[in-house]
């Protein structure tokens, strides 16, 4: 098929043109949001402190996340052997009619290396999801909310039924704190899995018009 030219679009009425243009902008937004989250995954694996980085998270929006914009602090003594490789799969992305807001969920099967105090690193299997809301700020897509939601974070050989590492922080989290944080919906062998996050539906922007409303993620939880 030849390249599309303006001649191919000349027959469209103005109304048709604007309708198609809006749909194309929504499709481009899906692509750009996927690029954005891919870039965020790269930065997640590269944990150098203090490096100047392109701003990936919204800063000016009233709903901008304080947690996402906090500077990184050291949670390991050395970066040697530490790695966070969380590939993004299974994307579900819904863009609003104005192509300025997007909700999305990815699933991920990932691997990690963790060495807190320069000990030999632990190999970790990390399954999880990346739910989030994205907005256009300063002419580019940025992450408004949403970070890693853990399913497993297990020592490689022990497997996910018998091992669950907490999120590594300094000071370390108590089990209760970890469960209230990224481990809230993590796998547990004695529990039925909660269906969170729900992927955004086609009607997500009609049902939840406020981009700071995260209720769409939790529609399967008992009210």
């Amino acid at each position: 098929m030849d390249e599309i030219t303006i001649d191919d679009l000349a027959a469209l009425s103005d109304d048709e043109f604007e309708q198609y243009e809006a749909e194309v902008d929504r499709l481009l937004a899906v692509w750009q949001v996927k690029n954005l989250r891919g870039q965020a995954a790269i930065f997640h694996d590269d944990q150098h402190l203090g490096d100047q980085r392109r701003q990936l998270t919204a800063t000016d929006h009233p709903g901008a996340s304080e947690m996402l914009n906090e500077p990184r602090t050291a949670v390991v003594d050395s970066l040697e052997g530490n790695a966070l490789f969380h590939p993004l799969t299974t994307p579900v992305v819904e863009v609003d009619a104005t192509a300025t807001k997007a909700r999305a969920v990815w699933w991920s099967v990932g691997v990690e290396g963790l060495s807190k105090f320069r000990e030999h690193p632990m190999a970790i299997i990390s399954l999880g999801m990346v739910p989030g809301t994205h907005v256009v700020e300063h002419g580019e897509w940025r992450i408004l909310s949403g970070t890693w939601q853990r399913t497993t974070k297990n020592e490689y050989h022990a497997g996910w039924v018998h091992s669950m590492e907490p999120t590594n922080t300094r000071p370390p989290l108590t089990p209760e704190q970890d469960r209230a944080f990224m481990g809230r919906f993590a796998y547990r062998k004695d529990e039925v899995r909660a269906a969170v996050p729900e992927p955004p539906t086609r009607d997500t922007w009609k049902d939840f018009p406020d981009e700071t409303d995260d209720g769409w993620l939790y529609v399967n939880l008992p009210s």
């Binding site: 679009l9 891919g38 691997v111 050989h157």
Partner: protein, 223 residues
Amino acid sequence: MAVTDERRARLATKLNKLRAYQEIQNQMGRVVAAINFRQADKVLERFALDRPDVSLEWADEGVFSGPEAVTTIVRETVGRDPLPGEMVDLQLTTPIIEVADDLGSARAVWWSPGAGATVEESQDPEAIWLWGMFAVDFLPYGDTWKVWHLHYFRYIKCRYDKGWTDDTSLINRLNVPMHPLSKPSTYHNPYSPLSIRDGLPAAPRPYATDDGIGWMLDRDKTR
């Protein structure tokens, strides 16, 4: 806002970029499937072999630059007769793709979880992990796109039973002579207990026209 020819031209470019975005992902999926299935001809027919600067770099095996070098190494590796029990199973995730504004080239990164099985003499096959990242330049060919430069960055290569923190025996090539058609590798930093992750390959960023292969190793995280 009036529907002008300038606006029609912008929409035509967006549509052409969207078509490229889809085709590039399909083409790269076909390349990876052909690598996995050991189909050298199907890999090579998706390389821009009419270009004197076509290239393939694989982990620390060096850079194979030019049609003769690319063809030779693909035939000698992908095209080698597979042994019973051998397996390569690379997958593509986390697409980060940019098509040049002039539609004359495209840049892409994928993260690639993978598994494999190696066979040595009469022993049982050995299960291994093969994780890495692809950074690829593409060129348009009519209604499709072909690989111009491909760089596979090794992340993990280890025995499945030991895992990536305990087995580093496979991350670097054996001490055997480099291939006579190879040139020095440009980057090799697989995971090991002593390695420190870099955010490489870098995410491609929007660009107007091709200005070289340097984006893959660009350490400027602010761009």
